[in-house]
């Protein structure tokens, strides 16, 4: 049984073998009361628990509840079955929302938005023998036919991410003498939230964010867990930035369930509000199939810090093809050293080097999946007669066919930045565009040890 999650994102110490003594170790917050520790617990006929105090008074005890989010941070037990975690976010869930939308009154209807990642588009395009933009147009038609209101492309939001990454790197580079921890900077797009926050905020001004049901189509399953992170929960709006993440493979399932061949669907015009579009072509970004972070941060840094215009990057393959290096030299001295590190084993080595302070890199584009996002766990699988490597090459070629847009030259994004920044202020914008990582405490429990 092969895990659909990438090897890097693993729920640790998981075991489907539940021994009688093994219980959920998730601690429930309990109000600690002063006083004598002795109390009796009584179970009523209906299964509810009552605490009987010494004076005879009964107090109903709350049932401990475990949510998906609780599980994510814990080394698990009962809900270790992946199916439980994944079914909460699946294409069936989307159908359910679309169905209830059809039946709901105008006031309760949700505005359903689907954002498609270029990697998922390329994957589906490869399956149906279409170009990436053709696939995009047909997906637009397909989703709208099901009741979706808008179909966008995540390259648009990725532009924001690239711009912010570029800025942040230059900032860190300037700080590196004073702040030893400023570098190396790691690309955090995997699974990095692709800035869907602004979609909600800006979208249909006047619309309550809760009325928006945002679906994203991603090349991996890890994104599902990521969308559930508490950091991506908008407190004020009491809603999540992304409600549901489905994979390219799941879109394929939807097409198959509707008995539709994507190549037969009549193309629809592309929605432009939150997409990078030129006519009927979708635009992409230069660089790797995982977002091109190294490419953009490198070219920007070379220009800003050293006044060099880098037209083409030369990637040097190190230990294996998932570990590549790019350097900028000035008078024979290496002034910038960047790397792409894909896959678990390379990440392990990177982490070990970082722990010992022996990493020579200024910036690393880190991705969990070998060969990057185009080879994500949620991408369309090869047909029986297809070879894995050949399919991946096909998907890569289709992905690269999209004309690249230089983030700094994107008018649409610039306009949005300005108007939105003005409306929310720089502090707030920074808050909304950036997220934080939290160290997860590993709980060691003697009961979980197996010999």
């Amino acid at each position: 049984m092969v895990s659909q999650f990438s090897g890097v994102l693993q729920l640790t110490d998981l075991d489907d073998f539940i021994t009688p003594s093994q219980e959920c170790v998730k601690p429930v917050k309990v109000e600690k009361k002063q006083g004598r520790s002795v109390a009796k617990i009584q179970i009523e006929d209906d299964g509810s628990y009552f605490q009987v105090k010494q004076d005879g008074g009964k107090q109903k005890l709350e049932k401990a509840k475990i949510t998906l989010n609780d599980c994510l941070a814990c080394s698990g037990c009962i809900t270790s079955a992946e199916s439980v975690l994944i079914t909460q976010q699946s294409h069936e869930e989307i159908y359910r929302v679309l169905r209830s939308n059809k039946q709901a009154g105008v006031a309760e209807q949700k505005v359903v938005v689907v954002s498609v990642s270029p990697q998922s588009r390329a994957s589906l395009a490869a399956r149906y023998g279409l170009s990436s933009s053709e696939a995009g147009r047909r997906l637009t038609a397909f989703f709208k036919g099901l009741g979706v209101h808008h179909v966008f492309d995540t390259s648009f939001s990725r532009t924001f991410s690239l711009l912010e990454s570029q800025k942040e790197f230059v900032e860190r580079f300037h700080r590196k003498e004073q702040d030893k921890q400023a570098l190396p900077m790691l690309a955090s797009a995997c699974p990095g939230n692709q800035l869907t926050s602004e979609t909600r905020a800006q979208f249909h001004k006047g619309l309550n964010p809760q009325q928006i049901y945002h679906v994203t189509v991603m090349p991996c399953y890890d994104k599902k867990l990521e969308a559930s992170r508490p950091d991506f929960y908008l407190e004020e709006a009491d809603t999540r930035e992304v409600d549901c993440v489905i994979t390219s493979g799941e879109v394929l399932k939807m097409l198959e369930e509707e008995k539709v061949l994507l190549s037969d669907v009549e193309p629809a015009p592309l929605d432009t509000m939150f997409s990078s579009v030129c006519g009927d072509e979708l635009l992409g970004h230069a660089g790797s199939g995982s977002g091109g972070y190294l490419h953009h941060v490198f070219t920007h840094a070379a220009r800003q810090l050293f006044g060099e215009e880098v037209k083409e990057l030369t990637y040097k393959t190190l230990k294996n093809k998932d570990f590549q290096e790019v350097t900028l030299e000035r008078d024979g001295v290496v002034v910038l050293r960047f790397a792409t590190t894909y896959g678990f084993r390379n990440i392990q080595n990177l982490v070990q080097k970082l722990k010992r302070g022996k990493s020579p890199y200024h910036f690393v584009e880190v991705m969990a999946c070998p060969s990057g996002c185009l080879n994500g766990g949620g991408q369309v699988k090869p047909l029986p007669e297809q070879n894995n490597k050949e399919l991946l090459q096909q998907v890569e070629d289709l992905y690269k066919e999209e004309r690249p847009l230089v983030p700094e030259e994107d008018q649409h994004v610039a306009e949005l930045y300005q108007s939105w920044l003005q409306s929310v202020g720089e502090e707030r914008a920074r808050e909304l565009l950036h997220t934080q990582y939290h160290a997860v405490d590993k709980a060691t429990n003697g009961l979980l040890v197996k010999w």
Partner: protein, 332 residues
Amino acid sequence: MKDTLALLQKFNAHPDSRCWYVAWNPKGTLLASCGGDRAIRIWGREGDSWECKTVLQDGHQRAVRKVAWSPCGNYLASASFDATTCIWKKKNDDFECLTVLEGHENEVKCAAWAPSGNLLATCSRDKSVWIWEVDEEDEYECVSVVNSHTQDAKHVVWHPTQELLASCSYDNNVCVYKEEDDDWECRATLEGHTSTVWGLTFDPSGQRLASCSDDRTVKIWKECQPGGGQGTDTAWKCVCTLSGFHGRTVYDIAWCPLTGALATACGDDGVRVFKEDETADPDQPVFSLSAHVPKAHSQDVNCIAWNPKEAGLLVSRSDNGEIAVWNYQSEV
């Protein structure tokens, strides 16, 4: 015509705690033992008895499950329940901790060196098998992480001469790995045991693999080319099963590189040695019980190892911390 297994000496290796494993160094002059007291002890022969030469402490925070000597005899790898593998380098008569390999999610169950000495394999309860590479500066880097087992991986062993790796697991299977492009892949899954496979050993030529299991049997596997001799994928077939000999779980198995005798360590406290019938068809080998000591120890015997240089010298280790040294004599 009687084959004998005579006890030479018994001593307590790790007082007050369990001794988990014992390994001969390549020269056959030293024994390394490790245990629940988180220490590794190096034993050397002084006349007729074995003396503890060094104690390696403070390398691990939890029990040390297995130790392995590098082919050159200058390094020791210790696999621990604290999820790390420690590499020790020999310095005169002592060992110093060179580096600590981290990465496994939980208890590391085994560490083994490839015959070249450049690669190290580790396996863990996290079901994965890791292959590490060591460079000239004694720096270790992870080359591959393979997740072929669906349960706790118990043991890893390298082919005596080639870069071929085998692992066994609580999932009842044995996996065989080879390097493909720049990554290691599972090339064959050997199914047949009906319970946890605890130990593995290659025969001196590397053509056959023996596995021992909780299902109380020992299986001999042979690599065979599929019809037409094409392709790179080979299949491993079970050519012999030794059943009915062991009363309980067989915890360890060792194939003598000098004599070809097969020794087993059993949960019924016994030590057994099997001999191969020379006249049998190589594709259908026959093994017979050559020697058996029913109460070799007062508790489960969980480790057995042949001295690589001295024919017939065998060491066994038990749950109660005892190490026994035996002499196996075979009348041909």
